[in-house]
């Protein structure tokens, strides 16, 4: 725990160093594509206030100077399975982005979609000695949270204070300077398989870069796809990626739940490939060109030519109708959405006042998926696209780049995390060690 605290703080320090230098790269290592943006911070943080575009505020502080999108290699279900391959893919992306930016970056913030993230809600409370809440009290109350017993091979990726309460007043986002006696906090903690992060860190290190931060893919996709109201009133962001489907629930401007399902667009492609007996590249092509989930009478007459290269004319020159394709795709997508429904329900999403669901990610580009999602997930479904950031090329404005854009926002405006507050050294160490120890004793 202490170790993690220090490594996270080291990454924070690295990030502020990078921000000072003005250049930082963000890297979305996905199952089907690796995206890289190079951000240039000019230090001028204009606030666009007053016209209700709160989510745009502060975004002019940086601009995109380099970008690259490349096919990802050696990654399955958001996890690295072949380090050299992944390293090559990262190298490809970084080199072309650096070439575009015409400058070299040394720091990179990355996000991971795999690693089976697990959400925990923590609570903590202390009595305030000095009446007025200050930084030390915040650190103390964060330190007083009961750390749940997560498995040994996992690491904490996020630990964000979500809500502070001060003497029965709740919903405070920043209680500093307020007067009270009893301060308590709700914290959202996300753990992820240690190995996933280690592999990614190793690949990035092999590319001569410093890791200046890691974020969960679910979190960053939501950052760029949800508008402020949705974050405030409660919404779920579903990032339908290639290998994974990332779910995150936001409420009161904070993420309160995140989850990853290991099924995604590639499974649909595989179904097509198997169902039509075509190579997966062909399957991918017809999926993106002609794919759909809602069949109409017209689709019976829309014929798709399938070209493959087996050398057998009978097989190579086949024609199927679009209805056939939809017939293959729909069950799988339904399955994905139903799985999402199940996870949302078990996370308690139904108890939130607002049931808004935002679909994003590459696989959300399947035509008609919103009407299908309406049937499965409820009426308040919309398709999300990442918001605009300064100088982002048009090719990166699609939903498959939601993670990339969100990561840029995350780099520019990181959310306060537990390790941002300096602990009261002795107290912190003693307490949490004993706490972890107790947890171990209780659970093993």
């Amino acid at each position: 725990m202490i170790e993690l605290y220090h490594s996270q703080r080291a990454m924070r320090a690295m990030r502020s160093a990078a921000l000072q230098r003005g250049l930082i790269a963000v890297l979305d290592v996905g199952t089907s594509k690796i995206g890289c943006l190079i951000l240039k911070f000019d230090g001028t943080e204009e606030k666009i206030d007053g016209d209700g575009v709160g989510s745009l505020a502060g975004q002019s502080g940086f601009q995109v100077v380099g970008s690259a999108l490349t096919k990802s290699r050696g990654i399955e279900y958001g996890e690295i399975v072949s380090m050299p391959e992944t390293e090559r893919a990262i190298r490809t992306a970084l080199q072309s982005a650096q070439k575009l930016a015409n400058s070299r970056v040394d720091h990179v913030i990355a996000c991971v979609s795999g690693g089976s993230p697990r959400s925990y809600g923590l609570e903590g409370g202390i009595d305030i000695k000095s009446e007025i809440v200050d930084d030390k009290d915040i650190a103390e109350v964060l330190g007083s949270c009961g750390i749940p017993a997560y498995e040994s091979g996992r690491e904490v990726l996020h630990a964000q204070p979500v809500n502070f309460s001060l003497d029965y007043r709740t919903g405070l986002s920043d209680p500093r300077g307020q007067i009270g006696k009893n301060l308590s906090v709700d914290m959202h903690m996300l753990t992820i398989k240690e190995k996933t992060i280690q592999d990614l860190a190793y690949c990035i290190k092999r590319c001569d870069l410093e890791l200046a931060g890691v974020a969960s893919s679910s979190y960053v996709s939501a950052l760029s796809s949800l508008v402020e109201d949705e974050k405030e009133l409660g919404a779920a962001c579903i990032d339908l990626g290639g290998g994974t489907t990332n779910i995150s629930i936001f409420w009161k401007k904070h993420m309160i739940f995140a989850e990853t399902i290991k099924i995604g667009g590639q499974l649909v492609t595989r179904d097509i490939s198997m169902g039509l007996q075509v190579p997966s590249s062909t399957a991918e092509r017809i999926k993106t060109r002609n794919g759909g989930v809602v069949a109409t009478g017209l689709d019976d007459r829309e014929m798709i030519e399938i070209a493959s290269e087996t050398g057998d004319w009978e097989i190579d020159r086949r024609i199927i109708s679009r209805s056939d394709l939809i017939g293959i795709m729909r069950p799988r997508i339904e399955e994905i959405l139903e799985e999402v429904r199940f996870r949302l329900t078990s996370a308690g999403f139904d108890d939130l006042p607002s049931q808004k669901i935002i679909l994003t990610g590459g696989a959300s580009q399947v035509p008609g998926i919103d009407s299908l999602a309406n049937k499965i997930l409820g009426q308040q479904v919309r398709l999300g696209r990442p918001m605009r950031i300064h100088r982002l090329p048009q090719a990166y404005s699609g939903p498959n780049c939601a993670g990339l854009v969100g990561l840029s926002l995350f780099a520019a405006h990181p959310q306060d995390e537990w390790w941002d507050f300096s602990p009261r050294s002795k107290n912190f160490n003693g307490q949490s060690v004993s706490r972890v120890f107790r947890w171990f004793k209780d659970n093993w």
Binding site: R91, T92, Q95, K99, N102, S103, E309
Partner: protein
């Protein structure tokens, strides 16, 4: 027939090799970027210049071009002088100055050495002070003060005009050019010109009766009167002797008497020489003159 499959044309790995990646990053590091951006062009330029100057012909050509360019610039109408204006000089001096400067107008002001021109004008004998400067409208303006003629030095042929300080101004063939100037003569007279002027000043009342001064033995003056009388002045303080003569003349009308030589060489012992008449007798008019 062999089957040609597309899969045989394996695509090259799009990823850069580790070495290439490192090299490209190294090339993008700020120092190297600057060095390449400025260094390479500089080196190329330096090498090409070096090669160019290896050839003598090129150097010559370049020099020609440069001097051509230089002339083109300095011969712009803005820099050209079209005329010489001279102020304060008489016609003859004017002509002399023009001759000594020897400028062919139009001429560029870059080709002109004003200080040197000034020297040259000053070196002309009649010029006392000179000033040379450029005036707007392409005019070289020279302002001179002539020396004022004060004496005529009689030479074997003709006269030299001298200034107050005995400086030579010019030669004239006849007195008529300067009828008002007093005449001096004798070997080395020009060196004692100021003394001569002092003498003339002291003797101003009788100036119309004076024919000239003669410098005798390079040390003292004789006044030659129109009547042929000679006044021999001492070497020291001739003015005092003149005072004496004037007083004597006032009291005794000494100058209008028949005396050929007034010898004042020794102020304490004035000697007068009376002309002898045809009989070798002294003139009786002189009786009564005392020292």
């Amino acid at each position: 027939m062999q089957q040609i499959s597309f899969s045989k044309f394996r695509k090259r790995d799009p990823a850069p090799s580790r070495l290439r990646y490192k090299f490209s990053r190294w090339m993008l590091s700020p120092v190297i970027k600057k060095a390449v951006f400025y260094g390479f062009p500089l080196i190329i330029i330096a090498i090409s210049i070096f090669i160019y100057f290896q050839d003598q012909k090129n150097i010559k050509h370049l020099e020609e071009v440069a001097s051509d360019l230089y002339r083109k610039v300095i011969e712009r109408p803005e820099f050209m002088l079209d005329a010489l204006s001279i102020e304060g000089a008489s016609d003859s001096l004017n002509a002399e100055i023009r001759e000594v400067l020897g400028l062919n107008f139009p001429i560029s002001s870059f080709d002109l050495d004003l200080a040197e021109l000034h020297e040259r004008v000053l070196s002309l004998p009649p010029v006392e002070i000179a000033e040379a400067h450029l005036k707007g409208g392409g005019i070289l303006h020279i302002k001179v003060d002539e020396k004022t003629p004060a004496l005529l030095l009689k030479k074997e042929f003709g006269f030299d005009v001298l200034s107050e300080n005995g400086e030579y101004i010019r030669s004239v063939s006849s007195r008529e050019y300067f009828p008002a100037l007093p005449i001096i003569t004798g070997e080395g007279a020009e060196n004692a010109a100021s003394q001569a002027i002092a003498i003339f000043k002291a003797f101003y009342q009788k100036l119309d009766q004076v024919r000239g001064l003669v410098f005798v033995g390079k040390r003292r003056w004789n006044i030659i009167m129109t009547s042929g009388q000679v006044v021999m002045l001492p070497e020291n303080d001739p003015q005092q002797a003149i005072q004496k003569i004037l007083i004597l003349d006032k009291v005794e009308q000494i100058l209008s008497r028949q005396i050929t030589v007034f010898d004042f060489r020794l102020p304490s012992r004035i000697t007068l020489r009376i002309p002898l008449d045809e009989y070798g007798q002294m003139n009786s008019e002189l009786i009564g003159v005392r020292n």
